[in-house]
């Protein structure tokens, strides 16, 4: 019998970094910026948090203040990913550079940045294994409600996660509300669909693009932080984050640009990502590799179906990937 009580929580913790990443990318894409730098930004976010936590642990020695232990890494992460978001905006919005090229360059840079400073910190800590271990800080991040473990299956399914997990769901729902129900969201969507129209209506295209991309980057950066501090229990090793950044971009398509669908979809993706660990043992090992293909295949199918149906509310933003210059219409 398939063990759902152990499978679902693991799928959820796999899904949360993807949820944060895809919520951030959805906001960004709604402003017409296709930010392929998200994988790099998530790396930078993660390593910034790790650097913050590392130096705080060193400075505090034995007695750590719970609030500072959480606040310092989070601020570092937000700052690191904000800088990446600003860089992307400066190049694509102010200097009107090609978004695909800029994004790919940011991913190259960000992954290199993460692994490089990760490697330097490993040297600095003089640890025997090639990893940075921040179990103490991670303890604060992954602390769940004290009575959760007493509630049996219910507790494990709904209450066993660290606070960032719940924050991720709240951010996704809030983003969805802002996008669909508020004036700011309406303006943002206008910028993404037709910047020229938005500009004519008096909306500052530049300001909306900057704001959406920077906030989106910060949310995505938190995804990196969650992965390190909660999922891996505070252990950073090179390339640990893998290709999850691309999976987050896939999730944006899968959810047809709706963060609220993303909540459940990210858990589904998390489940697909680890499904290969749950197939009956004794089966051909090679088949496991085919299972890992599932999230991408599903995304491609959604992409195709969406484009075939041509329904107007499930299309990518019309000006996605294009720079806007007022004098060029």
């Amino acid at each position: 019998m398939f063990d759902f009580v152990s499978f679902i929580p693991r799928a959820v913790v796999q899904g949360i970094p993807l949820l944060l990443g895809s919520t951030g990318e959805t906001l960004t894409e709604k402003s017409g910026n296709l930010n392929l730098g998200i994988p790099g930004i998530m790396y930078v976010g993660a390593i910034s948090g790790v650097i913050g936590a590392f130096f705080y642990e060193q400075a505090a020695g034995g007695d750590m203040n719970g609030f500072l232990a959480v606040a310092i890494p989070m601020l570092c992460t937000l700052l690191g990913s904000l800088l990446m978001g600003l860089l992307y905006c400066f190049l694509t919005v102010t200097l009107r550079a090609n978004q695909n090229v800029t994004g790919l360059a940011m991913t190259t840079f960000g992954v290199g940045f993460g692994n490089f400073f990760g490697g330097s910190l490993i040297k600095l800590s003089g640890s025997a294994v090639p990893a940075i271990i921040l179990t103490n800080t991670s303890g604060y991040f992954s602390a769940s409600l004290p009575f959760a473990s007493k509630l049996g299956a219910f507790g494990r399914l709904f209450l066993s996660y660290g606070f960032l997990g719940y924050l991720a769901v709240i951010i996704a729902l809030a983003a969805s509300y802002v996008l669909r129900r508020t004036r700011v969201g309406l303006h943002l969507r206008a910028v993404g669909e037709s910047p020229a129209t938005a500009d004519a209506a008096g909306i500052s295209v530049t300001r909306y693009k900057y704001a959406a991309t920077c906030i989106g980057s910060m949310i995505a950066g938190l995804g990196g932080l969650y992965y390190i501090m909660d999922y891996t229990s505070g252990i950073w090793s090179s390339d640990a984050f893998g290709d999850r950044g691309w999976l987050a971009i896939a999730l944006v398509i899968f959810t047809i640009w709706r963060p609220n669908i993303g909540v459940l979809a990210s858990f589904l993706f998390g489940g697909l990502y680890i499904l290969h660990m749950y197939i009956p043992s004794g089966m051909n090992l090679a088949v496991k590799e085919l299972y890992k293909m599932l999230p991408y295949v599903v995304t491609v199918i959604v992409l195709i179906v969406v484009s075939m149906r041509r329904s107007r509310d499930s299309q990518p933003p019309a000006s996605l990937g294009l720079s806007y210059f007022r004098e060029e219409r």
Partner: protein, 366 residues
């Protein structure tokens, strides 16, 4: 609303097209700035004086005959993928699936070498290998193109996903063909018989790859600039409506161009598997499918300039990896330096297309 007349410090306007040397002067300036920043960063990290940073980079690329050959081999493969994605970019089809198309080409080559290794005479085996990798790459490239042509499916996202599907497909076959069972890797294919290995020219392991890519580069230049197909690609890229109006079958151009793009990527994968590495791994492409996007764009989609831009990227990568070996730094140092250079050059494009007009202080009175 503020009543005082607010004039911004400068405003942006489009400039008349620069002559080619003007544009390249700006890019050269950006590159120079980037190199200064790179040296500065390296000095900060290693304490090396900036001039010897360049010395080490040069050493890492040309320090010995072997290093120079490796440099040119990497250059050839990167150039090959960059050439492959260029026709697609010229018609504004963002093929960032070079990685997957290369892998499929490599997979097909490995499949022929493993399955047919002892059944066919060697010359026939090589022909079959080449043809099947070209076909595999072309098919992988054409799948997103068909959907783009028929339903306007977003090709950037589609080709991106196809990369990961290809990686898992390769991972699957690696386990199917693993030697010995349970090793999780294929090892050197046909090590004893060397069946299906591309022949070595003289004693130079990489020479054949370099020559093949040089030929592809010349052909691609002619194809894009002097043939009817190349012209059709350019028109579709500039304006799909114009293309339809003058009777170009846009759908056919999209699929045909992606078949070509995928096929050349397949060749690159084949050169890696049958030409030099003689094995297949999921990381054999080394991210070149993504780097190629930047190389091609930096060269403004011109095959001849691409030789220079791919040289620049490979040169910096090899140099930075030399720095990181010398100083015991993480090998990711190269990625950071490459990133810095790319940011500068990407930013410099703005100053080629646009001009900043500073505020004229005398005019503020009106």
């Amino acid at each position: 609303m503020n009543k005082t007349a607010h004039t911004p410090l400068f405003h942006v306007s489009r400039r008349a097209p620069l002559p080619w040397y003007g544009a390249w002067a700006i890019r050269g300036g950006a590159l120079l700035l980037a190199l200064i920043v790179c040296a500065f960063v390296t000095t900060l990290v290693t304490g090396l004086n900036p001039l010897s940073v360049y010395g080490t980079i040069f050493q890492g690329s040309f320090g010995s005959a072997r290093r120079a050959w490796v440099l040119f081999q990497n250059l050839a493969i990167l150039l090959c993928v960059s050439l492959a994605v260029t026709p697609a970019f010229r018609m504004r089809f963002w093929n960032i699936g070079g990685e997957g198309q290369m892998l499929l080409g490599g997979l097909a080559a490995a499949a022929c070498m493993i399955l047919l290794g002892d059944r066919l005479p060697n010359w026939l085996l090589i022909v079959v290998t080449v043809v099947s990798s070209i076909a595999a790459g072309a098919i992988w490239g054409a799948i997103p193109a068909v959907f783009k042509a028929k339903w306007n499916t977003n090709e950037t996202l589609f080709t991106l996903m196809m990369n990961y599907i290809a990686i898992q497909l390769v991972a699957y076959f690696i386990i199917v063909w693993e030697v010995p069972k349970g090793a999780g890797k294929i090892g050197i294919i046909n090590q004893s018989t060397e069946a299906g290995w591309l022949p070595m020219l003289g004693s130079y392991k990489y020479l054949l790859n370099i020559l093949v890519v040089a030929v592809i580069c010349a052909l691609m230049y002619v194809y894009l600039n002097y043939t009817k197909h190349g012209y059709e690609i350019a028109v579709v890229g500039e304006s799909e409506r114009t293309a339809r109006y003058i009777g170009i079958k846009v759908e056919r151009v999209i699929v045909r161009t992606m078949l070509l793009s995928g096929a050349v990527c397949g060749v690159a994968g084949m050169l890696l598997v049958a030409g030099t590495d003689h094995t297949l791994t999921t990381t054999i492409t080394g991210g070149r499918g993504f780097t190629a996007v930047m190389v091609s764009w930096l060269a403004k989609f011109d095959p001849l300039w691409m030789i220079f831009t791919s040289f620049l990227i490979v040169f910096m990568e090899r140099g930075a990896s030399q720095i990181s070996t010398d100083f015991g730094l993480s090998s990711s140092f190269a990625d950071i330096l490459t990133g810095v250079i790319l940011f500068f050059i990407i930013g410099s494009e703005f100053f080629i297309t646009y001009r900043l007009n500073l505020r004229h202080t005398g005019k503020e009175a009106d």
